[in-house]
């Protein structure tokens, strides 16, 4: 943590001390802005003009925002179609509908919702296409709501549409201690007699062992370790690493096995973009002849939720999945593990924790949370960060916007 830098909080020209104040032409909202691609210092907390809901949109007052590995890749610029900077970051949030745009049906002011956004979620307010917004079950907290969209929809589609997980099967999951990994292991519990092999950093093994049958450090020869337990391999490999892990994963498949690539976190090796790791990850992946899959009875595929929603327009399909997940949540079958909740001002610490693979479960940002004391009490802050891990208490009170310090 010591090497991380707190983002500069830049006071806006006419920042208001209270966002609940009556409307004014210059009303602003606090947001986490990526000012350019690179290290953590590219993240700034800034006051931006408040957004409004256009036709077909909802304006949502954000209560919690999810952080995902793709956020780290965006920051470094190591994604296919990087956004133009400056840009407000964030792909998911929970909150309360504050305004309903023209021709937007099915929602009303005050609805508690979760939503997918193509950036812009890490702010006090966000306007979202109503196709990407879903009313939360009454018993769902905002933190659980923000933890659900990216991770659980990805996990559900991987397991139940693409891999078609069945009773008695086995799977290998990388980063099994992270947000998607946590969602995967919980969803696996809804199917009888599933064996989960997972890779995770050694420091996480204790925390996740209850949900993972066999845990290995990713740095060991995990393929060999899996073979020691399951000589014939596994039924399903869910890979968020890419690179050489792709080849290893396909090799590890049993007959009728399914390999699914849903991330490329091997690309992120340091704080800033590494052309070496980027290129290596691509070059290392062997192309596959479909005839080889025919000869071996194997399936390979890939899944990227943001592309599905924002490039391929499959919100109807995602809505069906969300509805199934809400039912599972209400029935107590799934329950997101929250690693930690951070103020916008502490976004660098939060992101560093994820990059260091120290989180167990979901990392959230809370626009209403107070930043941790910095500099003068650096040591104390580090301690309190650890104490925050796993804290699932909802922060109920509204807080005034911080104008920086």
């Amino acid at each position: 943590m010591a090497e991380t830098q707190a983002p500069t909080v830049e006071p806006a020209a006419e920042a208001k001390p209270d966002v609940e104040a009556p409307a004014a032409p210059t009303k602003v909202m606090k947001s986490v802005v990526l000012t350019g691609f690179g290290g953590l210092k590219m993240l700034k907390v800034q006051q931006k003009p408040e957004v409004t809901a256009a036709g077909g949109e909802l304006l949502v007052r954000v209560r919690a925002c999810g952080m995902n590995f793709p956020d780290l890749m965006v920051r470094q610029g190591v994604i296919d179609t990087p956004p133009k900077t400056p840009v407000i970051m964030g792909f998911e949030c929970s909150g309360i509908v504050e305004a309903v745009g023209e021709n937007t049906t099915g929602f009303k002011v005050g609805d508690r919702v979760i939503g997918f956004t193509n950036y812009n979620a890490w702010a006090e307010l966000v306007n979202i296409n109503a196709n990407h917004v879903f009313k939360m079950p009454d018993n769902m907290s905002f933190q659980d709501g923000a933890a659900l969209p990216m991770n659980y929809v990805t996990a559900y589609i991987l397991l139940f549409d693409m891999a078609n997980l069945r009773k008695g099967q086995s799977l290998l999951v990388h980063s099994v201690g992270g947000g998607v990994g946590n969602a995967i292991t919980q969803l696996c519990k809804t199917v009888e007699d599933v064996t989960v092999f997972g890779t995770a950093s050694s420091n996480k093994h204790e925390a996740i062992k209850a949900n993972v049958s066999h845990i290995f450090d990713h740095n060991v020869d995990y393929a060999q370790e899996v073979r020691k337990v399951a000589a014939e391999g596994v039924d399903i490999v869910l890979d968020c690493m890419c690179g050489d892990d792709t080849n290893k994963g396909i090799m590890l498949l049993k007959p009728m096995g399914k390999y699914l690539l849903y991330g490329s976190s091997n690309i992120v090796t340091g704080e800033t973009k590494s052309f070496f790791s980027f290129a290596k990850s691509w070059w290392q992946v062997d192309k596959v002849n479909p005839i080889k899959l025919f000869d071996e009875n194997k399936v390979i595929g890939g899944f990227q939720l943001r592309r599905l929603l924002f490039n391929q327009g499959q919100h109807g399909y995602v809505r069906e999945v969300i509805e199934k997940l809400f039912k599972m949540y209400s029935a107590g079958k799934i329950n997101p593990t929250i690693d930690s909740v951070w103020a916008f001002e502490d976004v660098s610490d939060a992101m560093q924790k994820m990059q260091d693979r120290k989180n167990v479960g979901k990392v959230l940002l809370d626009p209403t949370a107070e930043p941790k004391p910095k500099d003068v009490e650096a040591e104390k802050a580090a301690v309190s960060t650890d104490a925050e891990s796993g804290d699932k208490q909802e922060k109920k009170e509204e807080k005034p916007v911080q104008d920086g310090k």
Copy 2:
């Protein structure tokens, strides 16, 4: 049909006129033998010493045998691991248990069964590993039984394990008028609102149009024809052709689409092995980068039932599938279309019909059937062949073994 040659029926040294006669050391059985790789003349009906059931096996008196496209590929020698010739052909049959080998449990003499064999099914008797034998439902005819194993298990696994067909989806199926195609279209009817695009020879369109939403001749630019109806492509492509059809199939997938290769019939272009078509089919298939699948939200895979059973030992999984199919059959949800039933002596005509893609549904052999009159009444025979198409009458009477003519 005119160019086909009737196989030579070679009288065995000590052929018996009645296979039901008391045991004798030199008892023989009629069988269809591949004497070497090549054209139809490599098929001979021969008397072979009767087989017996070893430990773990069942001896089955065959009542009907299924013919499949892989039989044509075996005859030409265009498969990965060709058998040693001479070999009795055939991968599936129905019949009655005649003897139970040592340590074989779960079956008794007289059981009506179907079974998968690794060759040897096209005979009056066959010994089969009990793991690959399944008791037929009481209401299933031997002809329906022989039509079911290869085609319906393949179709079921493709649709419901690998492609995970859901309500409202669309699929493209090649050779939709053949045995697997027939099984696929019937299984699709068990799911609500499925759109089937099929390719088939023009002569079959009328016969199959009831079960196929849109039929195209395989020789037209079917990809363009599909796009005219479904601009965004299809959810599932089931491809038994391989070669350039593989590339076209993957291109035709919608987001979340699944392409599955389950045959390579493009390799068979004439009566004998064509190195040109063999090589072309392999070279034409583009290798696929898993990262491309990740970028496009696609899945590709392959399935080969014989390899699954005989090389990969997955009979437990196949048994689960067979049990589901039997339930569907008993509930009237599936009902194999039988194209035609042939005597062993007419195997060349039967195979030529399949190679010419003239069959609609399953082509069967019946060891008890009388051969059609040949030569002297060639024209009449051709007419009666057409009349046999679609005949589903079970031939009940046992017939004496033909000693040739």
